[in-house]
């Protein structure tokens, strides 16, 4: 494995993410309560000023505070959803590879079937079926609909391992399936698993924002990059900063996580570009 932080792009990506995470952590201490409206009537859609660097929204709330808060929530949702997807993908993929034969075939067919439902549709569908879904449920759902690609990658790697001498030797020494998965398949597929999970963060963030933008994700008044965009849409002509600021943060965050994923890929497999 070569060092993933060699390229300037990867370092810039890491810096961007660190900055966003830091802002999300510190902002609540310095900025006004994101739910508080300084003056319910007089402070609607204020133009950016010293008191409100990014202005206020239609409910007179400070946009910078909501943005900092929302960034944190979006990052957390994206990260947790990607971790859930990575864990499920590893479980199914390695399980299928270790089981082999008919079980492998059936598991992968099932994975194909689930993967065929477009992810945004699947999440929307579940949101329709579960009114009042809490934030945790939504995050979990993003993960549950995103593991199939990971499972395919991990299963392919696992199958290669299963056919190799190392597993045959371990078997000859009496290793059980669990031990083979944990000691042989998982360490070998770890690189690909990490890369796929990292690339899944940006994807989940985009999905969160998109669905929240439609009003079917994170529920107001909780701020997230998607709900901020949702709030900004109706005042696009009067207060474009409501739309521009969260969109920029989202784009930067997604670009940074994707760049990081690419850097990890290069690090694990320098041959592939």
């Amino acid at each position: 494995m070569t060092r993933p932080w060699r390229s300037a792009g990867a370092r810039a990506a890491l810096g961007t993410l660190a900055l966003l995470a830091l802002a999300a952590l510190v902002a609540p201490l310095l900025l006004p309560d994101p739910a508080a409206a300084p003056d319910p009537l007089g402070a609607r859609l204020l133009v950016p000023s010293l008191a409100h660097p990014l202005g206020t929204d239609a409910l007179s709330r400070d946009v910078l505070a909501r943005l900092a808060h929302g960034t944190g929530i979006s990052l957390r949702v994206g990260l947790l959803a990607a971790l859930v997807a990575g864990a499920l993908g590893a479980l199914v993929g390695l399980g299928a590879a270790a089981a082999g034969g008919l079980a492998d075939d059936l598991l992968m067919r099932g994975t194909d079937a689930l993967a065929s439902i477009p992810r945004a549709f699947a999440v929307l569908f579940a949101v329709a079926a579960w009114p009042g879904m809490p934030l945790g449920g939504f995050t979990l759902l993003l993960g549950i609909t995103g593991w199939m690609a990971v499972a395919r990658i991990v299963a392919a790697e696992g199958r290669r391992m299963m056919a190799g001498d190392a597993v045959a030797a371990a078997r000859a020494l009496g290793a059980g399936r669990r031990r083979i998965i944990l000691r042989h398949l998982l360490p070998n597929a770890a690189g690909q698993l990490i890369v796929a999970t990292a690339l899944g963060v940006g994807e989940a963030m985009l999905l969160e924002a998109g669905l929240s933008f439609l009003g079917a994700g994170v529920r107001p008044p909780t701020p997230s990059l998607g709900t901020l965009l949702h709030d900004g849409k109706d005042a696009l002509a009067a207060a474009p900063w409501l739309t521009v600021a969260p969109g920029l943060v989202l784009t930067a965050a997604v670009l940074a996580t994707n760049r990081l994923g690419d850097a990890l890929r290069d690090a694990f497999d320098p041959r592939q570009r």
């Binding site: 194909d112 079937a113 689930l114 065929s116 929307l124 569908f125 579940a126 079926a129 784009t251 997604v254």
Partner: protein, 318 residues
């Protein structure tokens, strides 16, 4: 070929059936109440409703009814519109296909044209900047870009319509005027989707051509004096069609989902817009129908990609 086609088609059908069953189970296993929208009604009415929709039956019986209906092309009745789901899907499909097809043609046309040229100049300044621009486009949330385009082009300057498929005030039957009107409505959603989706086909194609250009047969073609333009097209790009063909398959579902949010921003009355409507209105039969159609598009797309691959690549068929 015939035997292969039959097997491939059967595989696609089984996969779709699996997806639909998964949707059905998801619907019933989630903690939500299928009759949530009728929560205020008196208990006896709720019971009657439950009976009408069949949700009082055991899970397997429900699945049986659902599958039987599906086989007859019956996806139930929309709660929101009071019309058969199949009818609603059919009514909104053309708008989605129009948008999807327009994006498909531009994306793949540009991927081929520009991808070939960038591959031939790999590592050049143009190649590096194009790559950066594409990555940025790929990271842009499409609906956000849509809003950014609407703001000056539609709201401030009024150059293009911001929403809808056509001007409802236009008299019916005005053929050319109407076509122009639809085209004007198409511009912003088309531009938004193209800018955000171009990266994937273009980068894949560029990469494939770049690798192929290092192959022995490209050197051999140069050695016999083949002009550079033909070396690029016939010996570089032709054998590298694989990734583009595979992505054609991904385009069918993209037309439905990628445009899900864009259709929302531009009030483009397609399947994505319908899906969003169904969620807002808690219209479960309609949501199921949309999701099943999405799965069908994804599976059909993969089927199409495999068939195209087999038809166009002499190495596969044998």
């Amino acid at each position: 070929m015939a035997g292969w086609l039959a097997r491939r088609t059967a595989h696609a059908a089984v996969t779709w059936a699996g997806a639909v069953v998964a949707l059905f189970l998801l619907l019933r296993l989630l903690p939500g109440d299928p009759l949530a929208s009728a929560a205020d009604l008196p208990p006896e009415t709720r019971l009657a409703l439950a009976h009408l929709y069949g949700v009082d039956q055991p899970l397997l019986t429900q699945l049986g009814h659902f599958t039987a209906g599906l086989l007859h092309g019956d996806l139930g009745t929309s709660v929101l519109y009071g019309r058969p789901v199949v009818e609603l899907l059919a009514a909104h499909l053309p708008a989605t296909l129009l948008l999807g097809l327009a994006v498909l043609l531009t994306d793949f046309g540009l991927a081929w044209w520009l991808g070939n040229r960038l591959a031939a100049r790999a590592g050049s300044r143009a190649d590096r900047w194009a790559n950066r621009a594409l990555l940025a486009g790929h990271a842009l949330p499409p609906y956000w870009l849509g809003l950014l385009l609407i703001w000056p082009l539609a709201l401030t300057w009024g150059l293009l319509p911001a929403a809808g498929l056509a001007d409802p005030l236009l008299p019916a039957g005005a053929g050319a005027t109407r076509a122009l009107d639809v085209a004007r409505h198409l511009v912003l959603p088309w531009l938004t989707l193209t800018l955000t989706t171009l990266a994937v086909p273009l980068r894949h194609h560029r990469e494939a051509v770049y690798e192929t250009l290092a192959s022995d047969w490209v050197r051999a073609a140069r050695a016999r004096g083949v002009p550079e333009g033909e070396v690029l097209a016939r010996h570089g790009a032709r054998p590298s069609l694989g990734p583009l063909l595979a992505l054609v398959g991904a385009w069918l579902p993209m037309a439905l989902t990628g445009s899900l949010l864009v259709e929302g921003v531009f009030a483009w009355p397609g399947i994505g817009w319908l899906m969003a409507e169904s969620v807002g209105g808690r219209d479960l039969p309609l949501a199921t129908g949309c999701a099943a159609l999405g799965a069908l598009a994804a599976i059909g797309g993969m089927w199409l990609a495999d068939v195209l691959h087999r038809l166009l690549d002499p190495r596969v068929a044998a």
